[in-house]
Symmetry: D2
Subunit: 91 residues, 4 copies
Amino acid sequence: MTHTIREKQKLINRVRRLRGQMEAVERMLEEEKGCAEVMQLIAGIRGAVNGLMAEVIEDHIHHHLAAPELTQADRNEAAGELVDVVRAYLK
Amino acid sequence: MTHTIREKQKLINRVRRLRGQMEAVERMLEEEKGCAEVMQLIAGIRGAVNGLMAEVIEDHIHHHLAAPELTQADRNEAAGELVDVVRAYLK
Amino acid sequence: MTHTIREKQKLINRVRRLRGQMEAVERMLEEEKGCAEVMQLIAGIRGAVNGLMAEVIEDHIHHHLAAPELTQADRNEAAGELVDVVRAYLK
Amino acid sequence: MTHTIREKQKLINRVRRLRGQMEAVERMLEEEKGCAEVMQLIAGIRGAVNGLMAEVIEDHIHHHLAAPELTQADRNEAAGELVDVVRAYLK
C-alpha cells in the first residue's frame, strides 16, 4: 500500500489495539471470567475489525482508484481487488 | 445509475425476490408460525440484502470509479459516495 | 411463535416498514436514481433487518428458553433452534 | 464461564489463531504489502471473530439457559445477558 507515514501509523495503531483486545479475551477465558463480559468484548472486537476494514478500503479507494496520477491499468486492477473484497465481506 | 438494461433488470429482480421474502415473513408472523422458521428466513434475507449491496457497489466501482471516460471530478464524487457507504455499512 | 398480540403487531409493523423500503429501492432502480442514494437506502435496510432479527431472537429467548413454565424438552428444542440461527447469521 | 476443559481449550485456540492473524496484518502494514492482501486477511479475521462469537454464544445457551440444573434466577440473568449481546452485535 502506498500510504503516507501518518496513515500507515494510524492503521498500525488500530491493529495493535485490536491485538490488545484479543489478548484480553484470551486472559478472560483462561481465568474463566463470565460469558457476558467475554461476549461484550468480542462484540467490541467485531466493531473494531469493521472499523479497520473501512479505513483500509477508504485508503484503497483514494490512493488506487480515484487518484489522478493512476493509469487505466492501475485502476482496473484496483477495481478488481476491491470487488473481490466486497464480495468476501458481504457474502 | 448509468447501468446497462441487463444490469438494471438483474438488480430489480433481486429486489423483487427480497420483497417476496419480506411478504413471507409477514405471513408467517400473521399465522403465528414457529420462531425457528421465521429466524431462518430472516437470516436468508440478510444474506440477500448483502448480496444486493455487493452488486450495487460493484456496479458503482466499475461505472463511476474505474471507467476510462470519467473526469477527475466524477471520480472524486464517486469515491466520496463509496466511502460514505462503506462507513455506514461497516459501522 | 407464542407472542402477545402487542409483540406480534410490533414485529409485523417492522416488516411492513421494511417492505416499504424495498419498494423504494425498486422504484429508485426503475427511475435510474443515483447509486449513492440506492446504496444508502440498502445500508438502512440492512440495519432494519438486523433490528428485526434482534427482536425475534429476543422474543425467542424470553418465551422459549427462559420462561419458567417450559419443559426441559421445550428448552432443548429452543436451544437447538437458536444455535442454528446464530450459526447461520454469524457464518 | 463454566466450561469443560475441552471447550475452554478450543476457545483459547481460536483466540490464539486470531491473534496470529492480527500480527500478520501488522507485519503486512509495516512492510507496506499490497492493499488487496491486507483486505483479504481482514475479511478472514472478521469471519473468525464471528465464528468465535458463535461458539461463545452457543456455550452460553447450553450451559446458562438450557441446562436442567439451573434456577429460574440463573436463567433470567443469562437471558438478559444474551439479549444485550444480540443487540450489541446486531445494531
